[in-house]
Amino acid sequence: MGELKLMKGNEAIAEAAIRAGVDAYFGYPITPQSEIMEYLASEQPEKRTGMVLLQAESEVAAINMVYGAASTGKKAMTSSSSPGISLKMEGISYLAGAELPCLIVNVVRGGPGLGTIQPSQADYFQAVKGGGHGDYRLIVLAPASVQEMADFVGLGFDLAFKYRNPVMILSDGVIGQMMEKVEFGEQQPRRTKFDEPWMLTGKTPDRPHRIVTSLDLEAVQMEKHNLDLQAKYKTIRENEVRFEEIACDDADYIMVAYGSSARICQKTVKLARESGHKLGLLRPITLYPFPSERISQLADKVKGFLSVEMSSGQMVEDVMLAVNGKVKVGHYGRYGGVIHSPEQVLCGFEEFLSK
């Protein structure tokens, strides 16, 4: 068993990054995730593991520093919150296009615009449908506890390198700011020897020079690259779907909720069952790939799905696409920075029932 600590979700990400042997963090402060960089700074990762920590001049610079570091095969990450993530959109599209592995953390706050610094889940579309230009996908992980904030750093890098694809941890101010117990694994050493054919390690006489780029002026070549990307995304959809089912076995209705909403909905399940509703909860852990197939199966035996998100309804579209008209699908959620309580979700569910 590893070390047990009481920590904020943001701090857990930072500690996990050091322990996972991450090579570099580049970031720019923004609430509610500044603790990630602050924790790192206080831990002096350059001394603990030699990890690079740099406060960039902006989010745009930070994501492009990640791009540079990742080009050389290093494990690089950045984090921000909604407006800062929007600024990274071009860079993220480049990373996806150049097939570079990296980890991007979005501790979402209420939008649009400067919005509010309170928690939100309204960046779902941006994360899973591609807020940047072009046909690309991120692997999106949605932690629902401080423990998962820590665990998904390692998992994120594993997936990122396995598929040479940027991975996003989509969290929010609830998970980022709350403290819970978290258990850390042993310190992993930073990799020192590695050389895959895509990594810029310096052209030696025995190999051609290597190029990392997302450009191909030839449309036909670019289409081929896109087809390769799509094939990769298909593999990801086939192999990397992760979700958790809570009280779904005998459920008449199922809520679909991720991250902080999933935590809240766990209590709603309990409250609902106390008042006689056979309500279950499906918690997507990966938002992309989305557990569409499982939802489609469940749609054959339940009476309806309620997507619960702190947004005006974004993931609900993916639920609908999975259900494809078999049973009714609804959405409940507070938004703009307001967090729904388990009781409010229950009311929302009862209203959904009556519709």
Binding site: V60, A61, N64, G68, L200, R210, I211
Partner: protein
Amino acid sequence: MELKDIIKPENLVYKRTECLTDKVLSYCPGCGHGTAHRLVMETIEELGIQSETIGVASVGCSVLSYDFMDVDMTGAAHGRATAVATGIKRCNPEKYVFTYQGDGDLAAIGTAETIHACNRGENITIIFINNGIYGMTGGQMAPTTLLGMKSSTTPYGRESALMGNPIKITELVAQLPGTYFVTRQSVHTPANVRKAKKAIMKAFDNQKLKKGLSFVEIVSNCNSGWKMTPVTANKWMEDNMFPFYPLGDIKVDGELVKK
């Protein structure tokens, strides 16, 4: 003596560096990008650092420089080359890292990244091709376009009231504590090419010595964008660009050169 008697390996005095690939350059005839490419690659060959060098191409006509320079390279997003280089260098301090950027890239969209990489004193080399225009996208005004100069977005000549002033970004970065060597060169005559080569050599040497950032501006023609032949473009450059962008060292060994 006949030519064939001269053309023998032992008489060779100049050939293209092996650090350039065999690909034919994608530049317009007479464009200075080609010469600048060659100088950088000659330097890398002469320093014997091909296997220790990572280059950063930018978005502009030289977007494909990674096809021509026979070192490992990455293509940065428009304007972000110095941020990309920062990411590379910080994680690989033992590598030689350089960016190759146009004036639009470095002095317009990339201004913040340029200023801050210079200010932090990243231990990298910046090669900055100032041709006073956006070549790749079809000759639009660049931040460096001279007043009165025509471009496709200033078809009647740049007017400062409407489109602002040309910027001397090189003088600006020389003001920052993080720059160690800042110079302005050209590659339009053999003598200038040789000087520029020395400057580039110095820039890479400084990197070896961990002196901080070296910044080499090369004032160059974009004959296509200027709508001139290469030869007249170079002449026009001497007559118009050099008075505003005077050649020579601006900061050496961390000290501003007194004028």
